[in-house]
């Protein structure tokens, strides 16, 4: 079976959808030369009308995509750097995401916002290292974060076909991940359906995005000592609450492993919902970035100190089992 990288999976999904549906097009910065690799080969295949390279006008082209979507297109808007999303929170959450509602159902806004490379980039500074997915999950914008090439393909495909705005976060550390796949098996992955990546009986670890792989590694390491179930939600909003509840029915213990800031982040939401509604035999724990936006992005020593680590996960798993 051929090896498919995560970045290549995004590229393949985009190309397949553009071939399948003429209304799909992609816009963004430096996409003619495919700086992020998402658009590799697409300019040659589909031409500049469907691979639309933009000036540095994120607000303008985000709204532009909203308009194109209301006129029947399915834009995929790429942002090079995660903080660019913070420039367009209003355009996405308060405009694109509300037009269908405000029209009383007369229109829909099927835009996909693609973020190839979120989170820490070593050395790239404090402004380039954020993971703002919790913001969009809070504001009610459909949000997915695939962990594997197969899911990158499947979730991007679903996002493009979905009739609402959908954010696709592709974490930086995941882009290079490779997987053996049969191309024929690549298929849309539904929103709101998580996956048990490893079954276990003692504790459920919910791991988000690239951290799924770290969680699996920790689970393997601890295999003799504790049976860890690893749950990958895949989509953050909507979230697979039923899937999580089923896992907690089995284990009764919860640790969330999430690369967002602690306060009001996704991990907090998961802990809160579990505490409200699910079986919990011990206080749950989370392993996240600290409060505040503190990934400095220059000195690795400083940065690693403020990102969730395998060691912290290991400690948290052990602690949650003791209580």
């Amino acid at each position: 079976m051929p090896k498919l990288s995560y970045a290549k999976a995004l590229n393949r999904a985009l190309g397949d959808e553009m071939a399948r549906d003429e209304s799909v097009f992609v816009m963004g910065e430096d996409i003619h030369l495919a700086l992020t690799q998402t658009t590799t080969g697409l300019l040659d295949r589909f031409g500049p009308r469907r691979v639309v390279q933009t000036p540095l006008s994120e607000q303008g082209f985000t709204n532009f995509a909203t308009g194109a979507a209301m006129a029947g297109r399915r834009p995929v808007v790429e942002y090079q750097i995660p903080f660019l999303l913070l420039l367009v929170v209003e355009q996405i959450a308060n405009q694109a995401n509300k037009f269908a509602l405000m029209s009383g159902g007369q229109t829909r806004v099927p835009v996909t916002y693609l973020l190839p490379g979120t989170g820490w980039r070593p050395g790239w500074g404090a402004q380039h290292s954020d993971q703002p997915y919790s913001v969009f999950a809070h504001l009610g914008v459909k949000t997915v974060i695939p962990a594997t090439p197969t899911d990158a393909y499947g979730l991007l495909t679903t996002a493009i076909r979905d009739d609402d705005p959908v954010m696709v976060f592709a974490p930086m550390p995941a882009l290079g991940i490779r997987e053996d796949v049969d191309y024929a098996d690549l298929a849309p992955v539904p929103l709101g359906v998580g996956l048990v990546r490893r079954s276990g009986t003692d504790v459920t670890v919910v791991a988000v995005g690239h951290l799924v792989h770290d969680a699996l590694a920790v689970a393997e390491e601890l295999a003799g000592e504790v049976s860890v179930e690893v749950f990958d939600p895949r989509s953050l909003y909507p979230f697979d609450w039923a899937g999580l509840a089923a896992s907690l029915e089995r284990t009764g213990r919860l640790v969330v492993f999430d690369d967002s800031n602690r306060s009001c982040g996704l991990a907090g939401e998961i802990l809160a919902t579990a505490a409200e509604e699910m079986r919990l035999d011990a206080p749950p724990k989370r392993v996240t970035r600290p409060d505040g936006a503190v990934v400095i992005g220059c000195a690795p020593a400083l940065d690693l100190a403020v990102q969730p680590s395998r060691a912290q996960l290991t400690t948290a798993i052990r602690a949650v089992l003791k209580s």
């Binding site: 303008g60 308009g67 209301m70 006129a71 269908a100 405000m102």
Partner: protein, 321 residues
Amino acid sequence: MNPAGFYKTMRLIRRFEERAIELVRSGDIASGIHPCIGQEAVAAGVCAALRPDDIVLSNHRGHGHLLAKGSDPGRFLAELAAKDTGIDRGRAGSFHPSDFTVGVYGASGTVGHGAAIAAGVAWAVGQDSDRVVVSFFGDGAVSQGALLESFNLAALWRVPVVFVCENNYYATTLPADTAIAGTVTGRAEAFGIQAYTVDGQDPDVVFEAAARAVGRARAGGGPSLLEFSTYRYEGHHTFERTMRLRYRDEAEVARWRARDPLALQASRVAPEVRERIDAEIEALLDEAVRYAVESPQPDPLDAFDHLYAGGMPVRAGVSHA
């Protein structure tokens, strides 16, 4: 358009808003409204230059745009009253009305941002048709960077959009001359967009300018900007009636009232024709008001309708028992 046609459109807009203001007073329209009274010639003249399949992006002061484009006054008033029978099922109200049946694709409340949406619509429809898109905004919008970004995109990609700035010289209480360094047209010209300042109180003049810009866009000549000088006779929003805000002096208001576009257009129509039109409009609006007032409120159980495609369920704000 013939004089009676313009008169009819403008009279409809004027009386529609006057009736709406009554409904604000009676509490039937909870939001209040942003009246466009005094600016009717712009909506009437511009929309007369459009085909039915052309498209409009409106803004917060948008009642005239929808009516001139052909929206049904009854369903529109029901919308302002947030009724389930409104054009947008009461989900738009006065601030965000859209009417896709007549080509009005909505009104972003984010001042200036409708222009980029309009550019995107125009880019899309321009690829396989000769439809044209008009984007309406005020003088306040031209200081919003996102609007200037849309000028750049529209010019670069030659999209069939006509930017229409209704310069009524104030953004809420902010005088345009304290807010705009340079000129409105200069901001478009900087991007290579042809731009003209035009009298906005005479629908014939408006129409002529609009027809030229629309024709140019339709023929593939790209975007234009038209700045219409006009004036709103009412406050920024009906809430202003409850406040004492003095930002326009009375002489200025009087000067502009002397240029009432409806009075001007009335003078061009024979009295008996006018009377017939007035009576028709009054009957129409009586019926519209009745429809709006008597229509049912939306059902709270439908609060999540249209939020997500396919009716994706959302969690309630209360934890399950």
